[in-house]
């Protein structure tokens, strides 16, 4: 047991940053971003949690200086809000499964293509990715509405006898949401897939494995890290979906994002809005860890994905 002087404590705290020479300079270069993340990300979230623990107020957004967990109890006990949370997760799971399956297929097709076809396939995901959510959502209205293109076409051909209400409806929400997250999922998988060697697949096929089998047994294990990232991104974004349910959904399509907006901007009930946000963040965090662990089982090392 040696007595620690303040100096040696400081040294110890500093030592992780000091392992190599020049790391002070490195710290200096990183400091703008570190400061930014602290001030615009960490501190605001601390404040969010603090407000969620305040009393609600009639005249103000929240009662300053009070402390209570009443809003959490209210959110967790309200059947209405529980329904909203369940809806969000259900949408998240359905959209994620669809997006990741389709994205895996499309990433594989892009990986196998070359030249102009490959560029075209990549372009078809990068362009929607760089297009605003507003357009990505709104674009489906003229296409899927009861008097829209798809219905008119199917009616004219005779495949439908009456128009189908896809928009506004839950099916429309799912289509819109899959369309929104698909590019992110596809590129996450594609960037891992492009490091896989095609010779491996050829070898498996030479040894008699069919297309499906060579994909499942050779390619799939290699791209689990990409699939994990794709799943996590799609899930996080679909649980938090805002624009697709708002524009393509019916009145019953109500995820938590819409509720938070209403509580925040219309009812000015900040404790409820922030408590619901915090609860959703915790639930999403737990789910993401779960996804990470479960998918990690299949593919081993996920940590070098991103």
């Amino acid at each position: 047991m040696s007595v620690q002087t303040p100096d040696s404590v400081l040294d110890r705290l500093w030592s992780p940053f000091e392992t190599q020479s020049g790391s002070r300079r490195s710290l200096f270069l990183m400091s703008p971003l570190i400061l930014f993340e602290l001030l615009i990300f960490v501190v605001p979230f601390a404040m969010l949690v603090r407000i969620s623990l305040s009393e609600q107020s009639q005249s103000l957004p929240y009662a300053e200086g009070t402390f209570t967990i009443a809003s959490y109890i209210e959110v967790l006990q309200s059947g209405f809000l529980q329904g909203i949370i369940v809806y969000s997760f259900r949408l998240g799971i359905i959209a994620t499964v669809l997006a990741v399956v389709l994205a895996t297929f499309y990433a594989y097709a892009t990986w196998r293509a070359d030249g102009l076809l490959k560029s075209a396939l990549l372009f078809s995901v990068v362009l929607p990715l760089l297009t605003t959510l507003v357009i990505k959502t709104y674009a489906w209205v003229p296409l899927l509405a009861p008097n829209g293109t798809a219905n008119n076409l199917l009616l004219a051909v005779g495949l439908l006898s009456a128009p189908v209400q896809v928009v506004p409806n839950t099916l429309g929400v799912v289509i819109g949401q899959v369309y929104i997250v698909f590019p992110y999922a596809m590129l996450a998988i594609y960037s891992v897939l492009s490091t896989v060697e095609w010779e491996l697949v050829e070898a498996a096929r030479d040894l008699g494995a069919g297309r499906a089998r060579s994909f499942v047994e050779v390619v799939l294990p290699e791209i689990i890290p990409g699939i994990t990232v794709a799943t996590i991104i799609s899930f996080a974004w679909s649980v938090g979906a805002y624009s697709a349910p708002a524009l393509l959904g019916a009145g019953s399509d109500r995820p938590f994002a819409l509720e938070i907006q209403e509580q925040m901007l219309l009812n000015f009930n900040w404790p409820i809005a922030t408590a619901l946000s915090t609860i959703m963040l915790v639930l999403m965090f737990v789910s993401i860890v779960l996804i990470y662990v479960v998918l990690g089982r299949f593919g081993g090392d996920v940590s070098n994905a991103a």
Partner: protein, 269 residues
């Protein structure tokens, strides 16, 4: 027999990716087509061809102001995000520290948080600071999303840079700043152009956070488009959408020229 099923499999495979290809681009195509509609209905195929909605757009002061707002916020975000992303990636590359291992997940995290929650959080915070509905507030919010992209693009650019060149410059007696300007910069400038373009596009297209953090005076194009969509579906929104899609196509083309599409695509996820 085996050959027959093989051929069927290949045909199904092609059909599959062609279908997805069409599904990805068709909505954007329809939006652009409806912007030329002669009627007030949002229909595809459009009824007749006219530029009346384009004229309506350029006659509307509200849309023009939103355009200005989008550019102010976009340029601001590009400057802030590019500066922070490049310095941090450079600092990280120079020495792989444990701090960097800690910084990376923190930088990614905002991308995984639903934008509505980010919007609420920053609205609460900016209200306390008196920054609500200000350009600065929206720029900082957008930087939360744009900086990680710049950071990762620049990280992989710096990784490919031959650091012995820098050491050679140092050995020859150049100071660190001129080494950066004359040795490092020429080698990484394409990466900087690409990350700046991406930062700008991300800011230009983001709308949920902007919806929370802007007001009538400072609303950006996607926010105004959203608000007018919720009132009525008019082809004017298609006109605006066409402009936004064209800007992305132009930015993407520039980025693809500077590096290549494959590189850009892999950095976007």
């Amino acid at each position: 027999m085996r050959l027959e099923s093989d051929r069927l499999g290949i045909a199904a495979f092609r059909l599959g990716y062609v279908a997805i290809f069409v599904a990805m681009l068709l909505p954007l195509f329809i939006v652009i087509a409806t912007s030329f509609s002669a009627s007030g209905n949002l229909q595809f195929p459009p009824e007749g061809f006219s530029l009346r909605w384009y004229r309506a757009f350029f006659a509307d002061i509200q849309w023009l102001r939103a355009f200005d707002n989008s550019f102010i916020v976009g340029i601001g975000t590009t400057v802030v995000a590019t500066f922070m992303g490049i310095t941090a990636a450079f600092g990280l590359e120079a020495r792989n520290s444990r701090l960097g291992d800690l910084l990376t997940p923190v930088v990614i995290l905002p991308l995984l948080i639903p934008p509505v929650i980010l919007g609420v959080t920053l609205l609460v915070y900016f209200s306390a600071l008196g920054l609500q509905s200000s350009y600065l507030g929206i720029v900082l919010a957008h930087s939360l999303w744009a900086t990680p992209l710049v950071f990762f693009v620049m990280q992989s650019v710096f990784q490919r840079f031959d650091w012995e060149l820098r050491d050679a410059g140092m050995d020859l007696g150049a100071n660190p700043i001129s080494v950066f300007v004359y040795v490092i910069l020429p080698n990484v400038k394409n990466g900087i152009v690409v990350s700046a373009l991406l930062a700008f596009i991300i800011s230009l297209q983001e709308f949920v956070m902007a919806l929370f953090l802007s007001n009538f005076q400072t609303q950006t194009i996607p926010v105004l488009a959203w608000n007018s969509l919720r009132q009525s579906l008019t082809p004017t929104v298609s006109v605006v959408s066409t402009f936004l899609v064209l800007i992305s196509v132009a930015g993407l083309a520039a980025a693809a020229l500077a590096v290549n599409l494959d590189f850009v695509a892999k950095r976007l996820s």
